[in-house]
Symmetry: C2
């Protein structure tokens, strides 16, 4: 049954992921051929720095002309592991125009421009697969897009950035502050020299956009995602979470509104109960909870980054795309038929943990409670601590709209007796 003419693959980018893809395609060529039904051949590898030594990467395949490679005309599949918007976008579009299908690990590009890329794939009868763009090796895109295709997903709640989970886990387990934990993450290679994309939540926001779009069969771009990083999380926040039986995680949360008419997508630090399965996700691991009507609660857990795990996801897609090529078919494309609008953050309904520095005198709690009531935010618990004329109030609310909470906090800041709002953190997973 095996076809003998090989399928030709062009690889764009040969860094940590690309090198692993090359290694596995070389060492496991027989397995890949058996699983696809035809041999696959690496026909060219486009890189920016051809002089860099790449162990195990055939030198004769290296080229600096990525455009010429995707235009060759005999390429069946292009694997894009360059990252970033350009030149990746133009190269992928060119690949489609020349008859190739594309496997990409590029979360930024898919989150920014997924609809246009899917349209280009469809117009050319090609596939666009990107399992590796979300949570590394963890199968998420395929389960959401295919396994749950007969179900109604209501919520996706996940830890999708390993760097920030490593930092928060260190802060939680050692009592370290943010800077100290970031330094350790950098020293161990979990954080990049410029950690902005991770710690400011851009990376997680891109993944949230992709997950929300697939889960709710609509279009969500990174611009639709409310984003807060973890740079302002303090050791005091973590300690406060512990007192509540919680821990702090940077979460990506995609939800269908209660009335089903809109969706929300957001990334921010949040307290979750220690009893929640996501609370025990340690170090740089990722995990994603999916809640749906029929399946109930599912969780997917594994390494969210790294060369080999990301290559595993890329090669799983490569096998699928090659099988589709041989069958003369394409896999599932974009499914965005619901066209559900993305609501702004103010409409998100959740719970809040607010720490206030207040004057230590009678009547302060009554004043604060009045402000909450006036803005329609119901208080669940209050903890009061005071000494030497200084005091703190920790308020945990019932569920309320984010806009109502913001107004409440604005009004609290106006009170003479409130000296400062030490922190506001959402409480999730209950």
């Amino acid at each position: 049954m095996m076809r003998t003419r090989p399928l030709k693959v062009a690889l764009l980018g040969c860094g940590v992921v690309g090198s692993e893809v090359t290694r596995i395609m070389t060492t496991h060529a027989d397995d890949l051929a058996a699983r696809i039904g035809a041999p696959v051949e690496l026909a060219g590898i486009a890189v920016r720095r051809p002089d860099r030594v790449r162990a195990g990467v055939p030198a004769e395949l290296i080229t600096t002309d990525a455009t010429a490679l995707v235009k060759r005309g005999d390429i069946d599949v292009v694997i894009e592991v360059i990252g970033g918007i350009e030149p990746a976008r133009t190269l992928i579009t060119t690949a489609f125009e020349h008859g190739a299908s594309v496997v990409s690990a590029n979360k930024a590009l898919v989150a920014a421009d997924g609809a246009a890329l899917h349209a280009a794939a469809e117009a050319n009868g090609a596939d666009l697969y990107y399992e590796a763009a979300v949570a590394g090796a963890i199968p998420l895109v395929r389960p959401l897009r295919e396994s749950l295709a007969g179900d109604k997903v209501n919520r996706v709640l996940g830890i999708v950035n390993g760097t920030t989970n490593f930092i928060l886990d260190k802060m939680d387990s050692t009592g370290a502050g943010y800077s100290e934990a970031l330094d350790e993450a950098t020293a161990l290679g979990y954080a990049e020299a410029d950690p902005t994309a991770d710690v400011e939540g851009f990376d997680a926001a891109a993944k949230a956009a992709i997950l929300a779009g697939i889960a709710f069969h609509t279009r969500v771009t990174i611009d639709d995602v409310h984003r807060e990083g973890l740079t302002e999380v303090t050791a005091a926040d973590i300690a406060s979470a512990k007192r509540m039986g919680c821990t702090v995680k940077l979460l990506a949360i995609c939800e269908r509104a209660a009335d089903g008419a809109s969706v929300t997508a957001r990334v921010h630090p949040a307290m979750i109960p220690l009893t929640h399965p996501l609370a025990s996700v340690r170090e740089a691991y990722n995990a994603v909870f999916v809640e749906s009507d029929a399946a109930g609660q599912l969780m997917f857990y594994g390494p969210g980054a790294g060369g080999a795990p990301t290559a595993s996801a890329v090669l799983g897609d490569l096998v699928a795309v090659c099988r589709n090529k041989l069958a003369g078919a394409t896999g599932p494309g974009e499914s965005a038929y619901t066209r559900l609008p993305v609501s702004p953050m103010g409409e998100v309904v959740t719970r809040y943990h607010i720490s206030l520095d207040v004057a230590d005198k009678p009547g302060v709690l009554a004043q604060v409670a009045t402000i909450f009531a006036e803005h329609g935010v119901s208080i669940d618990t209050v903890r009061q601590q005071g000494k030497d004329g200084e005091a703190s109030l920790v308020v945990v609310t019932h569920r309320a709209a984010d806009a109502a909470l913001s107004s409440t906090v604005g009004a609290l800041r106006e009170l003479d007796t409130v000296r400062g709002v030490a922190s506001i953190m959402r409480v999730e997973g209950e």
Copy 2:
């Protein structure tokens, strides 16, 4: 882009799962049509007892003649949720011969006869999908078969039976014995009136066979799976596990041998460390760990049974199979090219926890240790407890072949000073 002629679906069986499939196909018809690219129509439902009231199931679709239904000639997809070997096998084969693809939730049949069913599907250009056969709603078949198709899976370790996990969880959390915990499971509907298939491990063994075959690209039937149920697990075993920082779970374990030349598949109770993610899987939930070369450790968690979760898996497969039909293609079929043999239990290498009742006199430990040494089983730790002439020895070994451990235990029973072997349990997940 939507085709207007509907795809016709025949449903075989309308119990807990079939009723949910019918309900979702009816209430979410528009979503299914949008995701498939054509409407799907329930064309007939075959049942044994047509007089049983089925809320929400259209009476005019009910028939008792399943054979006539699958032979109609206009059926695109047959959903089989009858269970058992016959008549399911004959009906599925007949469905293939009449041009239909098949979605099945039938673990017993796939584990007994998967190769022949796949061959029949392939001979007729049809699909055979069975995500619902393993661990209910948890996507496992598709991730193993597709997402990890470019990786090398070395180990699958999972809790794949909810009834037995509920029983063991109760024993662990309340100190109850097996019978008492089984009674509670029965009262709550987690165990059937005849719990044999669950508590003797037949259900888990079928799932282990399916997972091993897919994970290692070979053929494994239920007869290849070593099976021990949990009826002999005692409260003392659970207490002993706790003293070791472990809990007891009924595990399905599929492994590639260290030399890569064979595989093993087994189901038995085992101690696992409390720090292992599977240790915290409570009540009737299922979870499966997958270890592969490139992806590393992945875990999939969710409800392993129940009408709605199983229906979710069935409908995910239905959407995939319908898309394949529309594309004139088939999805991935059987992948068994490695033809790796399944080794017997004696060749499995793991650790053991052995409780012995011994005479409380000097020299017993030396005798026992000599027996272990003579059989090449290295001891990790020994704990000795004694009073009033009676004593117990608890031995935990290093890794050893199961055959060597069996010989060791046989020789121990011959010793005058060993009054009995109270329990033997394997230790996994370290």
